[in-house]
Symmetry: C2
């Protein structure tokens, strides 16, 4: 393999996580070890920024800022949800692809790393194929990222361990709070977490039980399973009667027995005539208060769960960093068209994490769901198989500096790389 | 003053906090230093448990469990919202009072400490007056507690510093997350925090700005101020246009220009005919998405904010502990009918915390609100005066042990004290 000399471009895509910047730091710090990589550029706001030739010069950043990315949530380079959609908009997609390669060529980009979820792996795959087709020598490696944990082949997705560590601790804390208030009437708390089609996050909060059936959460509903609301109500009633209270966790996309999203309330229109998205937890709260007459409160973690660096998993952050490093090493070694994946090694009784490569073509647009046999028969609680899988992912805490009682995160200077092309038409 | 020899009873009331157990630890550990205090009992579930003669023997607990209360959220003894209401239910209140004193006498309770908010201070006051009236020698001291920070005379309320430290960090993290996603369309995130009539919690998240107007939160709405929704919408629009995104924090009880709670939606009834409580954040989200066409997401911290020991304020925990200690010292010194209050000493340029006593009669049923001149003229953001007040309250982090990646909190054994009375009629 001939050494490929040129510049590196890295970008971030989709929803941020607590550790997506850790992968970015991994790419940048590993790139510094390879002479064949000349300049290190970042794409501002993912593919969208690259299309607009908005590149930032990472070598202008202070070393301590790059180190600080290992404990800074959000997407430090900015992100986007822009999709190059060859199926629905083939003409626009072809034009976008032309523009991307104009930018790559203008800045002699020979190493391209895209950190993101399913859509981003698809984009990386298309860019790799296009490079081969055009005979433009460039190495493309996808770096996994998604709190949803729904990328296939990888043991787990960077971002997932941190979100379930935080959500697990939160459910645990909410649980002992509600439990200590449980007097004669009983009470119920419903925590809604992210996950529209895959229930990994909701399932992960089962770790808060620490093996004790009495501990919250008592019920966990996943989008993968269709629920009979009456059966759920019966279980809540039974739980309140046994423990005096009930803590339930629901994924935002949970569905009823007809397969309809429970959170989408078609019977209510807002002042502009659109159906109101009441939220799954709020919807079930109405049921519980109405049918069981049990005081019910909700918690909607929303963006807070994926940004909660202040209680992020060190295992997750380290694996994310390792994915970034591995991507660069693979590319420098001549690989292209792969996604880095996390591998769990349990030989010899101690768990060790490593990385490997997976062909992008096999990854793109495949969603990985919680296996049905990792959940109890009634579908209301993940079982020991799930716990065995998830528990190692939340080990350790990310250390971060504080100032005035609040975390002190870093911000990139983002000095702009001079544009060489006319504006995108 | 003659030494009063007898038993101690401590109980917790109202909504739990991250540090209410720290006050309990303060009471218990200080009590251990005074020979005049023989047995240390806890009331299970506040006044309600005492009425039912449900006392637990604190001296049966392990010393390390008591120490663990300093980093364990929830109300370890259990709590209640039971109110002895002489105004609305004078007969029942008189009967309850008789029963309380039967229990006090049966167990030779000579020291009574009630840890709670406004209602609990009122209860403590009534018990103190009743003891004097009955000639039953007992010393009653109220220990303050409320995340709402609405007790008068005390510098701040135990629980408040921790909730704004956690909520402030959360808003900061949500802020950089949303900021990094802000591409051409702009986006908005609304975080709803507790506070039905006092806006201390919402106001406290202003600390996340760290003095920089560009930093989130960009807008904070308090229940104390009536808002013209159109003016709020205009400010959101301006913020999105300036920064590309907007993060807003609202107290749950915020009101519109007619003084109506924004979160209470009278136009919508649930299947049982009750008005749906949509939540203030959800309601404003509908406005923003409808009127400004700006993508908006909400976060509802709910019980999570008051239980978030994993990022609690050490200053708050220490002050809470000191309040418990001071209550016992005051009682042993012959005082009764007081609430402990926190005092801030800034002489000599360094801040020192101490405690003092405040007559319960002056405290009961007085609510302390955010001063109007601590908020900007347009009412949309707390100002420097507020920041100067709140900043010291979040200093330091409570340390806690971890196991398997999650906090390891303690639970009381709660061995029951033998009952001496017939059941409550």
């Amino acid at each position: 393999m001939a050494e490929l000399v040129g510049n590196l471009l890295v970008a971030q895509s989709g929803g941020p996580t607590a550790v997506i910047n850790s992968s970015l730091a991994g790419v940048i710090q590993e790139a510094g070890h390879h002479d064949c990589i000349e300049e290190i550029y970042g794409g501002a706001n993912g593919i969208l920024g690259i299309l607009n030739e908005e590149l930032v010069d990472i070598n202008d950043e202070k070393a301590k800022t790059i180190q600080g990315l290992r404990y800074t949530p959000s997407a430090a380079l900015g992100t986007c949800r822009y999709k190059i959609d060859f199926k629905k908009k083939p003409e626009k997609a072809a034009k976008d692809m032309d523009r991307l390669f104009e930018v790559f060529q203008a800045h002699n980009i020979r190493y391209f790393f895209y950190i993101g979820g399913n859509d981003s792996q698809d984009t990386s795959h298309k860019i790799h194929e296009e490079a081969v087709k055009r005979g433009y020598e460039m190495r493309v490696i996808g770096v996994p990222k998604t709190i949803d944990n729904d990328l296939p082949f990888t043991d787990s997705c960077p971002g997932y361990g941190s979100v379930i560590k935080y959500a697990g601790a939160t459910v645990m804390e909410v649980g002992i709070d509600v439990g200590s208030m449980a007097t004669d009437d009983g009470s119920c708390c419903i925590v809604e977490v992210m996950g529209r089609s895959a229930g990994w996050i909701a399932a992960g909060t089962v770790l808060a039980k620490r093996g004790n059936p009495a501990n919250p959460p008592h019920i966990i509903l996943l989008p993968e399973i269709q629920y009979d609301i009456d059966a759920v109500m019966a279980k809540i009633k039974e739980t309140v009667s046994t423990y005096g209270f009930c803590v339930m966790v629901v994924g935002e996309g949970i569905r009823d027995k007809n397969g309809e999203e429970i959170g989408a309330d078609k019977t209510r229109l807002d002042s502009f005539g659109h159906p109101v998205l009441a939220g799954a937890a709020e919807k079930i709260k109405e049921y519980v208060q109405g049918k069981l007459n049990t005081k019910t409160r909700t918690v909607l973690l929303g963006y807070a769960q994926r940004a909660a660096e202040h209680f992020a998993s060190l295992t997750d952050a380290n694996n994310s960093f390792a994915c970034g490093e591995a991507a660069v090493r693979a590319a420098v070694n001549g690989q292209s068209g792969f996604m880095v994946k996390i591998v769990r090694n349990t030989e010899g009784g101690t768990l060790k994490w490593s990385t490997d490569l997976q062909e992008l073509g096999t990854v793109a647009n495949v969603e990985h769901f919680v296996p049905r046999d990792w959940v109890s028969e009634d579908g209301l609680l993940p079982n020991e198989k799930f716990v065995e899988y998830a528990r190692p992912l939340i080990e350790g805490e990310v250390k971060f500096p504080l100032e005035g009682g609040l975390p002190k995160y870093v911000t990139l200077e983002k000095s702009k790389v001079e544009k060489k092309l006319p504006p995108r038409s």
